[in-house]
């Protein structure tokens, strides 16, 4: 009997995954217009390569990587560049974006290309091929994948951790990828192990996805050391820090990366994407998105071209119900609610969830009653109650002394708070303020 694979604390929000867990992925038709923001990943935004009026084919580069921690952006459809300008970004801001009018008559066949054969490539060449394909982490954070493939000289990586936890309610994106494309996941693992020079990979999957565990287990290649581990169903099981702790017993010190404790974490969908790069030569121009929630007529798992507007995706899923009151990008625990349905699906969009008034009912906020539930929920062992009191008093420097930097903004504290204090929102603001102060000091 192996140890219980779980971390301490965390919360159990209702999962609601049955809406789409069994729905096979299908392809959404091309909308009339595609909008591609140049900032779709962590790191520097891409540099613009096209002008209005330019004709692009599916897979053409429209933005170039600006430095090492950056990736290019590719056209997800054939068409004509209509306009370049500010457009609503799913993070709530406005961002520079390329609008492409989709060519309705194009067969959407990419230009002829050479498919790189990864076996012959040196690690450096694999890293460059992955960067050229614009691959980023598809689990939500959108960190450029190739950066994780090239650890600095002074760190020794011994384990590749594959994240198939998918702990956010409603989302079944990774679930469907694992069930439908397990071979691609293993292919991606093979490329990563080879490039990192690591022999061991562990796939962590929450136990509420037995079909995904089964699919992955039955397809493990004989020559790879890959184990599939069922994890306790608990939010935020899919956070890097939690996953590393659960699967290796190691803790990532604050301000450090998983590499520093010998682990590289990669999401299953990102691995399948790496596999696609070396199978088809196509860059990252489409992704699996769960479109779900009680406010949506036909919850689905879709392959969506990057840049499709939420409006078009929702329309393809039958539209919103009358009682829909909030549209969230990503899962409901950490996602951002959208003011504008013109914002596009970007590389990091794991899901679109339409909530109803029942979920998003405004609640009154009460003073902190020191019940301690947030302490029992915090997966990184902070004291959100005290941090919240400091935040309300504007004592931001003291919050940093109280380990604010360790907070991952998972939202567990806000979720359990009976007084409805917007704890994680206050912490996000305080973290942004700390960042600004640091930059001003430098």
């Amino acid at each position: 009997m192996h140890a219980r694979l779980s971390f301490r604390h965390g919360v159990h929000p209702p999962e609601h995954k049955s809406l789409t867990a069994g729905v096979p992925v299908r392809r959404m038709p091309y909308p009339d217009e595609i909008v591609l923001p140049l900032r779709q990943h962590a790191g520097k935004p891409a540099r613009l390569l096209v002008q209005p009026g330019d004709r692009v084919e599916r897979g053409d580069k429209i933005g170039e990587a600006d430095g090492f921690v950056s990736v290019p952006i590719h056209a997800s459809s054939a068409g004509t560049v209509r306009d370049i300008g500010w457009w609503p970004h799913p993070d709530g801001s406005m961002a520079e974006a390329v609008r492409i009018t989709v060519d309705r008559y194009s067969p959407q066949i990419p230009r002829p290309r050479i498919i790189p054969r990864w076996e012959g490539l040196t690690p450096d060449q694999v890293v460059r091929a992955v960067q050229r394909a614009g691959v980023v982490g598809l689990g939500g954070a959108a960190f450029p994948t190739h950066v994780k493939l090239l650890p600095p000289e002074d760190v020794a990586v011994d384990t590749l951790i594959v994240n198939g936890a998918e702990c956010e309610p409603y989302l079944t994106t990774d679930h469907r990828v694992m069930v439908e494309y397990p071979e691609r996941v293993h292919f991606g693992i093979r490329v990563m192990l080879h490039t990192l020079g690591v022999s061991r990979a562990i796939i962590g999957v929450e136990r509420n996805k037995p079909d995904a565990i089964e699919a992955l287990q039955s397809t493990v290649p004989d020559d790879l050391d890959v184990s599939v581990q069922g994890l306790t169903v608990k939010y935020p099981q899919g956070y890097e820090k939690m996953l590393i702790q659960v699967l290796t017993g190691r803790e990532v010190p604050p301000g450090k990366f998983p590499m520093h404790v010998g682990a590289v974490v990669q999401n299953v969908a990102s691995l399948a994407c790496i596999a696609e790069v070396f199978e088809t030569g196509l860059p990252l121009i489409e992704r699996v998105v769960t479109v779900s929630g009680p406010g949506l007529r036909r919850p689905s798992n879709l392959i969506v071209p990057v840049g499709a507007k939420i409006r078009d995706v929702i329309e393809f899923c039958g539209g919103l119900l009358d009682e829909a009151s909030e549209v969230v990008f990503g899962g409901p625990m950490m996602g951002a609610s959208q003011p504008d349905l013109d914002a596009p699906i970007i590389k990091s969009t794991t899901g679109v969830v339409a909530l109803t008034r029942r979920e998003s009912k405004a609640r009154r906020t009460y003073p902190c009653i020191h019940c301690g539930r947030c302490l029992d929920a915090c997966p990184v062992f902070l004291n959100p109650s005290e941090l919240g009191i400091l935040a309300q008093a504007g004592r931001y420097e003291e919050m940093e002394d109280a380990s604010l930097a360790t907070c991952m903004l998972c939202g567990c504290c806000s979720y359990v708070c009976p007084s409805n204090i917007p704890l994680s929102q206050m912490f996000a603001l305080a973290k942004a303020g700390a960042q600004r102060r640091k930059q001003q000091a430098a």
Binding site: S337, I369, L375, F381
Partner: protein
């Protein structure tokens, strides 16, 4: 923190994550505590007649009216003032004049809670602070335990005494089990203690009822079970030690657990969310501290009962307990920091 934007006929809300919320709210917790006290009030009425209802109502009225008068509008709805009033009423002797109960409720809310800034800000349990005030201001009324009258419907003592007159005590008084034990070394049968068929404060006698109601709250996670458990453990162990030294002078552990205000104090007073520690390690320390103080005061103090002072003393230490038992953040110490962090 929400905003709406209109898209066609559709109103979209903009809110910060998380977009889901656990069902419990502060008023829901508070009103559940009030609800769980109904059987305790019923038991008090069963044993002490209409006096019980009158005294509890008077204390609650004092608490609610003070909250209504001085707290921000709408704060009555959160239920916390009702808890204070009911709990104070349950700690009063059945024969106490109603105006005294009313003053106690008003003092508990006014000086126990509102002067600190209202809900969540107070250091001491407001109900116990109200009782401590009454104990100091009206010692005679607070220590008069009238005996059972001829009929259930008859008032116990001079409930209706006019304010600031000396109550006309013509009823026969009886001693509480703790008083009997302390001053006459006469233990009361533990069975009667458990079901509450003894003299004492209104809501403190029916030990079993309080235990069951408190357990309900613990199961629903409306109180931290570590606090009553640690109080019971420390009281049982300490009084067990004393009992084994001299079983004629000292009460048995079961007597210690079911006599006086211990049950009500451990289940309802010490577990007040606002005035108990936020950390679980802190809860253990807090509970053990109360248990030890209770036995020390009962055994060596001048008063027969010490639960109230034990809890108030430990309330004062809560900020220090919180400070000393902060959890250790993830990643701050080697690989086992998280697991060592707390019990």
């Amino acid at each position: 923190m929400s905003e709406t934007s209109r898209i066609g006929s559709l109103q979209l809300q903009l809110r910060a994550s998380p977009h889901l919320k656990a069902p419990d709210t502060t008023p829901r917790i508070m009103w559940n505590v009030v609800g769980s006290l109904v059987p305790v009030i019923a038991a008090a009425t069963w044993y002490f007649g209409p006096s019980a209802l009158l005294v509890i109502s008077a204390a609650t009225a004092g608490a609610l009216l003070t909250e209504r008068a001085f707290a921000p509008p709408g704060s009555l709805a959160d239920g916390s003032a009702a808890i204070t009033g009911i709990l104070l009423g349950l700690t009063l002797p059945p024969g106490v004049p109603l105006w005294i109960a009313f003053v106690g409720g008003a003092f508990g809310i006014g000086f126990g809670k509102l002067v600190f800034g209202g809900l969540g800000q107070n250091i001491f349990n407001p109900a116990l602070l109200g009782r401590a005030f009454l104990q100091a201001a009206f010692p005679a009324a607070m220590t008069t335990w009238p005996g059972s009258p001829a009929a259930w419907g008859q008032l116990r003592g001079d409930n209706l005494a006019f304010p600031f007159t000396s109550p006309s005590v013509d009823a026969v008084t009886e001693a509480t089990p703790l008083g009997l034990m302390k001053f006459e070394s006469a233990p009361t049968d533990v069975g009667s203690l458990m079901i509450g068929a003894t003299g004492g404060s209104l809501g403190e006698t029916a030990g079993i009822v309080i235990l069951v109601c408190g357990a309900y709250l613990a199961v629903r996670n409306y109180l931290n079970w570590r606090i009553p458990v640690s109080i019971f453990l420390s009281v049982a162990i300490l009084s067990g030690l004393l009992f084994s030294l001299d079983s004629t002078r000292f009460p048995s552990p079961l007597f210690a657990l079911f006599s006086g205000g211990l049950m009500l104090g451990a289940m309802y007073m010490a577990t007040d969310l606002v005035t108990s520690p936020v950390t679980n390690v802190g809860a253990w320390i807090f509970g053990f501290g109360i248990g030890i103080l209770v036995v020390v005061i009962r055994t060596w103090g001048g008063l027969p009962e010490g639960v109230m002072y034990a809890i108030l003393l430990m309330n004062a230490l809560v900020p220090f307990i919180n400070r000393a038992t902060q959890p250790r953040p993830y990643g701050s110490r080697g690989t086992n920091a998280g697991r060592e962090a707390e019990a």
